[in-house]
Assembly symmetry: C2
Homo-oligomer: 465 residues x 2
């Protein structure tokens, strides 16, 4: 049968028919943002942007792809998750993996001495997506960073204040900001006897203490990473400590057992930094939100000072924001190093929470912003509906009409109710002659005859336009 042309032809047409009916898809780990989700996203972005603006930040946007060289060597093991563009004869390009490295590239490239900027944009990671947990390959990040030479810990305190204000403004319930200092971790490891070559890998083991028990983490340190058990135990004496920042700081500053930490160059410097930081956080009113937690290590390589992570205490918990000081990164793009500190919010998890909340609340869920549906009573009156709509648009009022020559009255009412539009204006031949229209308040279920000439003022008044 394979040599039979008519059979081959029918197979081919079958394949083509199947193809034309095959449901289109989006790429793995991505999704469309529906109108309902767009409303929530835009509201959240506005609330977040308002906080950035209140703190005097400017917006900067960067291209979605960078030269591959720009991203190389910045993300450690996670570099394998970077999306590359195909070689189509030109430069080697990759999609951005975060917003921090493009920001550092921007500051270095433009020789910016100091800047406080925010950036809300999509980043790309070829990670295993877990769509049910809101983990995608394309997702938004909201970043806020301060680069430049300032007095110690002042920008760090401002960044943490921004984190708290954003979480407060989004009404996500309780949260804790865990704080630590990379230099303190370095000192702890050195004091405990970790060889310098193992700092990073032991650091990443410590970082797992929020998910694993000490026994499990110690097992990893000893069996997988070849640390002596007594070294691991010495680390544990430190990293099990967490408390309100002033309380734990006071212990580290005065207890006999931590004298070696205070005497250590990095350790002493970190404690001095944190003392300043906690004082400033007190002034800014966000110290109560913080927990000084010696087990916080953060994955990324480029942090050099204060590090932090924000964890929700409601809605299933979990980390939703993090950041810290990275004084070396910009220097890789510039002839001179510029210190910087910043934070990133994982907005997708927040949006997922806001979506669930929106679904529970009645009255939410409008997808468009239409304030008035202009309808005809009985006759078609398409020209009149169009003319009235154009007049409303000119006055800044959001208005629609049903796209039919002769729509039924009920169909027009249903259309307004479906979109949860608050008002309708009805025109009909009799009222047109009298020079009036009927304004219907769909939630109050009231109606009123209004003189056509007064309509715009009347609507502006009830709509507060």
């Amino acid at each position: 049968p394979l040599s039979c042309p008519s059979f081959a032809l029918s197979v081919r047409s079958l394949i083509e028919a199947t193809r034309s009916f095959r449901a289109p898809r989006v790429a793995k780990g991505t999704r469309d943002t529906t109108p309902a989700r767009m409303v929530i996203r835009e509201r959240a972005f506005r609330a977040i942007t308002d906080v950035f603006h209140r703190h005097g930040a400017v917006g900067i946007d960067t291209p979605v792809f960078e030269l591959r060289d720009t991203l190389t060597g910045k993300y450690g093991e996670d570099s394998k998750l970077i999306y590359d563009l195909a070689d189509q004869g030109g430069e080697s390009l990759s999609l951005r993996y975060d917003l921090t490295v493009p920001f550092a590239r921007y500051v270095g490239m433009n020789r910016v001495g100091s800047v406080k900027r925010y950036h809300i944009a999509k980043v790309y990671r070829r990670d295993q997506p877990v769509v049910t947990k809101g983990k995608f390959r394309e997702f938004y990040q909201c970043d806020y960073d301060i680069a430049g030479n300032f007095d110690s810990m002042i920008p760090d305190a401002d960044v943490l204040s921004v984190v708290c204000e954003i979480l407060d403004s989004l009404n996500l319930g309780g949260y804790v900001i865990k704080l630590n200092h990379r230099m303190l971790l370095d000192a702890i490891m050195e004091i405990s006897g970790v060889p310098p070559t193992k700092f990073r890998t032991i650091c990443s083991a410590i970082d797992k203490l929020d998910k694993l028990s000490w026994e499990q983490v110690k097992e990893e340190m000893v069996s997988e990473k070849g640390l002596a058990p007594e070294v691991a135990d010495r680390i544990w004496q430190f990293v099990q400590l967490k408390d309100a920042p002033p309380a734990l700081l006071a212990r580290l500053q005065s207890d006999e057992g931590f004298a070696n930490l205070r005497a250590h160059t990095s350790g002493g410097r970190a404690l001095a930094d944190l003392e300043l930081l906690f004082r400033y956080l007190g002034c800014l009113g966000c110290l109560e939100r913080c927990s000084f937690d010696l087990s916080l290590a953060r994955g990324l390589d480029y942090y050099t000072g204060v590090i932090f992570e924000g964890v929700l205490t409601e809605y299933g918990g979990g980390s939703i924001t993090g950041g810290g000081r990275y004084d070396g990164l910009i220097g890789t793009f510039s002839s001179q190093p510029i210190p910087a500190v910043g934070m990133s919010i994982g907005i997708e998890r927040i949006l997922a929470i806001l979506e669930v909340k929106a679904k529970k609340k009645a009255g939410e869920g409008r997808q468009n912003h239409t304030q008035v549906v202009v309808a005809s009573n009985g006759a078609g009156l398409l020209s009149e509906r169009m003319e009235l709509c154009a007049e409303l648009w000119k006055a800044g009022i959001a208005a629609e009409f049903v796209y039919k020559q002769n729509p039924k009255t009920q169909a027009q009412i249903d259309s307004a109710l479906n979109m949860k539009c608050p008002f309708m204006v009805f025109i009909d031949p009799k009222r047109l002659e009298e020079g009036t229209v009927e304004v219907k308040d769909l939630s109050a279920k009231t109606k009123e005859d209004v003189t056509r000439a007064d309509l715009i003022e009347y609507l502006k008044n009830i709509l507060k336009v």
Copy 2:
């Protein structure tokens, strides 16, 4: 010398030294959006979004990359400009080339019966960039489309009304919307004797009449595309026509010479469509902006009905928006065809014009939104400045302080003046004791002592927060 290790070593260290000082770059044809440009972009996007909202549109976002299959066969010759992602073991992906095909994919995939949506997002084309003319490989498009079965020409008129409202709201000076109908072009070509296989290529030659003379276009038709000269001349009898829509329509509807056009199935249908459309555009108040131009052809393959293009008459002219009806495109993603009409605004050219205008205007050019700089007079008073800022933030006031322990008074004033901040609040030890602060209006150059307890209300009042 090539075998000398110390020379090789010094070459290597030289290369590495050069490398570490090599200025970082962005990918060819892309650019960063600076804070000054961000302010203009956000203002323009807000004005445009307001128009979309006034017309009842919902927002939809799609991923930046699509399965390659989704884009295949949609852009004709321009498909070679599509950016592909590298094969990293997974699906074949490409960056979106426009927002229309992803929209059609969305509607088909989600079996959306009807929707009116807007989408402002970046698209990607591996075109030769002309940075001086604002032509980039990554650029924003602003799209507005209506999909669904509605009465003829009503959505088309709404789309054109949106185009006019946007151009009006952006204050770009004069403009003309050129209108035509794909079926009218088809009829003209058939009547003139163009073989159906050459419709598309002749159509694209006609489209060049806005840049080339008829002699040049005819030469292309005859020499390059093998059309008989007398066929080309018959086309010219039609495509040289342009006039105010009602005037040209009346000629085509009554002149003896156009009887064959009226009798042609597609031609008759197109004329009936346009008669309705022009009536509706009259009702919506935007007919005066339009020119009925038989030479308008539009490049893209997928148009099936009304087509249009908006051309500025000031600022160097040029096309900045276009669109039309595409009744077949969604059907390629769906088991049933869904008609649609829409428009796309080339916002980059508009932003370039707005940037030039902003530079000319005094008083423009603020990059952040800070309303108050909180300063100390004489002493450092860092804690007090921080506490006051936190209070202002809580009240919704955008405030900053200089990130120094002991900043000079003049340095703080300079900082406020540099960012064009309208107000400053000064604290000093003497006033702190008296319970007052000094509020300085930087533009009016006035100052006033305000009781500390009344400060928030005072500022809210003058800032209208």
